[in-house]
Amino acid sequence: MRNTPLTSLSGAVAPLLRANVDTDAIAPSRVKLSVDASDLSSLLFREWRFDANGAERPEFVLNQPARRASVFMLALDNFGCGSSRETAPWALRDFGIRCVIAPSFGAIFRANCIRNGIAPVVLARDLVEQLGQQAHADAAITLQLDLPAQTIRATNGFATRFDIDPGAKRMLVAGLDAIGLTLTRLDDIEAFRAADRLNRPWIYPAAAPAA
């Protein structure tokens, strides 16, 4: 499926200045899910956003009035570590967050973001902390992402360039359908398999053994 292309983005930012924020926190497993994708915005950070009775915890960053419509999130090292659940980027996306800025990301989460039109932007930790503290102190600060130019700017004058894999960038900017793209390589895949079948026949089971 194609994603909405992501080229530029501007708006409010939610600083969540913790390291190792895991996908169990981003998208808790104790919430009823449907086998078909649905709006998961209420799942996002459920146990940090709401108390056991479902009432908002006013101190949590996404419950602060100026941050309720955040499109950016700022976090510390290893954001999205843990479970591979794709409900984590779906919940972020459905909430409206299209760019997460952190010093590093969990590998599976990062790949899941790119597949779902969310830009995982890596900045040095001192820059993230600096911007995070500024944004924490002043909720009026908004950010701007220019993905083709690979820049992040803030309304307080903060500006930096970032690196991103060309492949990831292209996927996000064009909102590409990755499967459709690979299926144009079907001849390569079939040629690989034909040769591989001769070298490693045990990889290609003729039939499963009886249970």
Partner: protein, 473 residues
């Protein structure tokens, strides 16, 4: 002469279909593993786009996440809201697509990462993906295995490939001692995470090597690989050797006869060449390693069982200090508190980390002829697969666990997280052989202490965190 290559480079190159634009490469995927939680969603998504499974003979489904583990279980006994739908949809989709399913009631059912190598579905030199972050476990037998999300899984199902950028490599060399029952692979990997941190190898392809790994059982190697994701690794692998081949020979899906010989011959090259270079190298020495226990809410928060929770003033980095403070608040522990003084309410022996036969034997050896402390209100053993359960019962281990006061369960992911929809009593403190001590992972407010099966068993007897080396035979 070809330059020396790492095991990882060999595994990568043998699956390379094509170099793509932008530094991406297209890799062939030899085995695709689906469980019912992600699998049901994934098959539905695929159907929506009108795409089909490329080669069902290379896809294997299994029930582990949603399925209940209580005795007498059925589809309907799962406590996960809407869980039965996931089970039923996944079963129907597997049937329609025509791939094998290790279903409820099948002895091949179990936790995916335990059952697939045990059945010989996964073999050295394969590339394998599963929509689960602990897929790297299977690297313990020399498989290039990694976890993916649902979208990437759809890609694998529809094309039998995944497009990736070649990751950085890291070798972790383990030296200096012997693994026994009281100091296990789990202790080694917990110690390692404590040392390099939860982001110590973000995105890297890790190879475990060195004399300790060579001497280690296949089960122990899988425990090491299982927790590589807890220090951020993309995958982890151990070079297959005679130990691996002896372990795999005769497994139901493994090749036989001349085909086995041919496969085994090809596997002999699956090792890093002398002189191969890695982007990063780490050496750890496990001489004098004590059993390890986690005290916080990240797997990097670990100490020896004879140690203590850190004092905040000893932590120079302000982020680490803040994280420690948050973790101790959640865990209800005081800075400087001795770990052995920490009373536990519950014990969980299970998960893709530590529920293979050797793990159950290690715990049973401690528990045999003893009773868990009266203060331990819930103690559960969940075998890693139905085959492990059957074998353990043949050895009488179920009786040892039951006599000690444990529940003996059917196989599945169970209380490692929300498997089957269960949780521990609110705020319970749990001695757990699992891989994640994240906030709320095992239930709202649950305080998880990660440890080995032997340490969990010793702690169950004492009613507080306890050193298995002090339980005399």
């Amino acid at each position: 002469m070809t330059p020396p290559r790492t095991l990882f480079a060999k595994l990568w190159d043998m699956h390379l279909v094509a170099a793509l634009d932008d530094g991406m490469e297209l890799l062939h995927i030899d085995r695709i593993i689906l469980h019912e939680r992600a699998g049901a969603m994934c098959m539905r998504q695929l159907a929506k786009t009108g795409r089909k499974v490329y080669d069902p003979s290379q896809v294997f489904g299994i029930m582990d996440h949603v399925l209940d583990t209580r005795p007498g279980r059925t589809d309907a006994t799962t406590l996960i809201p809407n869980g039965q739908t996931f089970i039923e949809v996944f079963r129907a989709e597997a049937g329609a697509a025509g791939f094998s399913l290790f279903d409820l009631g099948d002895v091949r059912q179990g936790i995916a990462h335990v059952s697939m190598p045990e059945q010989g579905v996964a073999l050295p030199g394969m590339s394998l993906v599963c929509a689960d972050s602990h897929t790297g476990t299977i690297g313990g037998i020399g498989v290039l295995a990694w976890g993916v999300g649902i979208s990437e899984m759809e890609h694998a199902l529809a094309t039998q490939t995944i497009a990736l950028k070649r990751p950085r490599t890291m070798r972790i060399w383990i030296d200096g001692g012997e693994i026994g029952a009281a100091v296990s692979a789990k202790d080694v990997v917990l110690h390692l995470i404590g040392r390099i941190g939860a982001a110590g190898a973000v995105g890297s392809a890790v190879e475990y090597a060195g004399p300790v790994v060579r001497a280690m059982s296949v089960e122990g190697r899988m425990t090491l690989c299982n927790m590589a994701v807890e220090f951020g690794a993309w995958s982890a692998v151990v070079a297959p050797d005679a130990t691996t081949l002896a372990w795999l020979a005769g497994r139901p899906f493994a090749p036989t006869g001349a085909m086995w010989d041919r496969a085994a011959e090809s596997w002999a090259d699956l090792r890093s060449d002398d002189g191969a270079t890695f982007d990063a190298e780490i050496r750890i020495d496990i001489a004098d390693l004590a059993p390890q226990v986690s005290w916080g809410t990240s797997p990097q928060h670990v100490a020896g069982v004879d140690g203590a929770v850190p004092r905040l003033e000893t932590i120079a980095d302000n982020v680490a200090r803040g994280a420690t403070e948050t973790a101790l608040h959640y865990m209800g522990l005081a800075p400087g508190q001795r770990l052995r003084d920490v009373a536990i309410d519950a014990v969980f022996i299970g998960s893709c980390t530590n529920a293979r036969l050797g793990d159950l034997r290690a715990a049973a050896a401690i528990l045999r002829g003893r009773r868990i402390a009266a203060s331990v209100v819930k103690a559960i053993v969940v075998p890693g697969s139905s085959a492990v359960k059957r074998q353990a019962e043949a050895e009488g281990l179920d009786t040892v666990f039951r006599d000690a006061g444990f529940e003996w369960r059917e196989s599945g992911c169970s209380l490692c997280f929300y498997g089957g929809g269960e949780g521990f009593p609110p705020l319970a403190r749990v001695a757990s052989t699992t891989n994640r001590n994240f906030e709320n992972r095992q239930g709202p407010g649950i305080r998880t202490h990660l440890m080995s099966p032997a340490t969990a068993a010793a702690s169950a007897l004492a009613g507080h965190i306890s050193d298995p080396r002090e339980v005399t035979a």
